[in-house]
Amino acid sequence: MIAAAAIGLCLAGAFFFLAGTVGLLRFPDAMSRIHALTKADNLGLGLIALALMLTSQSLAEMLKILLIWLVALAASSTICFLLGRSMQRRSQSPSGGDAQPLVRYRH
């Protein structure tokens, strides 16, 4: 019963990952790509983490998986914010444009 639920959650998680990846490949600009990745992948990761928590052996293991999900959530939303802000600043700057590489650490 628990195993069936875990498999179902895993499959649902994989579906959201797939949707996020399709969004990354198909969406036209960087902003909507980030949108697709951060929303869909975090949900997918959460569902898979939930499936692993259901099948985990101990409470400690369960809490560790939960912690991993929470840290991934915090990190990915922060990165999303930083990328979005960097892109917004670049579109406002006169020399900006899509020609520059995505990587930029200095502002």
Binding site: V71, A74, T78, F81, L82, P101, V103, Y105, R106, H107
Partner: protein, 329 residues
């Protein structure tokens, strides 16, 4: 059946990514492909039931090397981009773009590099062919002597007791790498580098949240090395990541350390093993680098803790030296 399919997919992905990596004309694309290659390789190590190597590969091979490559890319990209804009059609794709000032390697250099790589592959293939077909290698000897060492995890026993010499030299290599990068950068000190903290309260909040967590995971990984995959290198990489994050948002990190303290922390791991080597050689009851059996576990933990601090500080200093860009003229 399912695992065979997974293995085949993984092997195919590894080959595909490495082929694309070699074919990529864009350096940034090649860097990203290199990172994903490292992650696939880590998965392959998991499938080969070598979680220690998988952890090290993911942390060092994909993470750290990836960051260093991106830093190097960032350093050389603006020049080649300007040149690219200036003469758009002159530069064919795949042409040497590494450093316009240096002479581009010619066909002769590529031929020589290819020849050397071929020879190395041949030697490796011969070495693999030379292995006994049926055999467990040194696994049984390690398992038999494990209780002498006082740790439960065979990999830690090999790295920190049976082949401590190798680990010692690895720490030495790390030290040399840092000295080399300091030399190339011409930097005296991390404090003299320009600091451009990212002014994002959100990032600062995240780093402040992750800070204690980083310390916790470092200590956990260090302690885990006793009985499970983990240990000094993995813990050191986590520590380094935390230190680099702190530096990025302008919080106190390795760059605030006085020069003497920095050097002390960097050589701590190497020096501790050197001390052990000198002590055991002079005491002459033991072989060089042999632990007294009673103290074995304590000494391994001490050495691992010292190595973790050294590895963490050294790697963080390396990344900061490579990532920080000097003021543009």
């Amino acid at each position: 059946m399912l695992s065979l399919a997974f293995d085949l997919l993984l092997a195919g992905a590894l080959l595909l990514v490495s082929w694309r990596l070699l074919q990529a004309s864009d350096l940034f694309q090649a860097t990203v492909l290199f990172i994903s290659f490292g992650l696939f390789l880590a998965l392959a190590w998991v499938r080969l039931q070598a979680p220690d190597i998988a952890l090290a590969e993911a942390a060092v091979g994909a993470g750290l090397a990836g960051v260093l490559l991106i830093g190097t890319f960032k350093r050389i990209e603006p020049q080649s981009r300007q040149n690219h804009d200036a003469n758009d059609d002159v530069q064919p794709p795949g042409a040497c773009r590494l450093d316009q000032a240096a002479a581009c390697p010619g066909r002769f250099h590529y031929g020589m590099a290819g020849g050397c790589a071929g020879m190395l592959t041949l030697l490796l293939a011969l070495a693999v062919m030379d292995l006994p077909r049926q055999g467990t290698g040194l696994t049984e000897i390690v398992a038999d002597n494990l209780e002498m060492v006082g740790v439960d995890h065979p990999v830690t026993a090999v790295l920190l007791a049976f082949r401590l010499y190798d680990t010692w030299l690895e720490l030495g290599v790390l030290l040399l790498a840092l000295i080399g990068v300091f030399g190339v950068r011409g930097a005296q000190d991390l404090r003299s580098l320009p600091a451009h903290p990212v002014d994002a309260p959100v990032l600062r909040g995240l780093v402040l949240l992750l800070g204690p967590l980083t310390v916790l995971v470092t200590v956990h990984l260090l302690w885990l090395g006793d009985h499970a995959p983990g240990g000094a290198f993995q813990a050191g990489v986590v520590l380094a990541a935390g230190l680099v994050l702190f530096r990025l948002v302008g919080l106190p990190s390795v760059d605030r350390l006085p020069r003497v303290t920095l050097v002390c922390l960097v050589v701590l791991g190497f020096a501790t093993i050197l001390l052990l080597a000198v002590a055991t050689t002079l005491l002459s009851i033991y072989h060089p680098l042999e632990y007294p059996p009673l103290w074995s576990k304590t000494m391994i933990l001490t050495l691992e803790a010292a190595a973790t601090v050294s590895i963490g500080v050294t790697l963080a200093a390396l990344v900061i030296l490579v990532l920080v860009v000097d003021e543009e003229p």
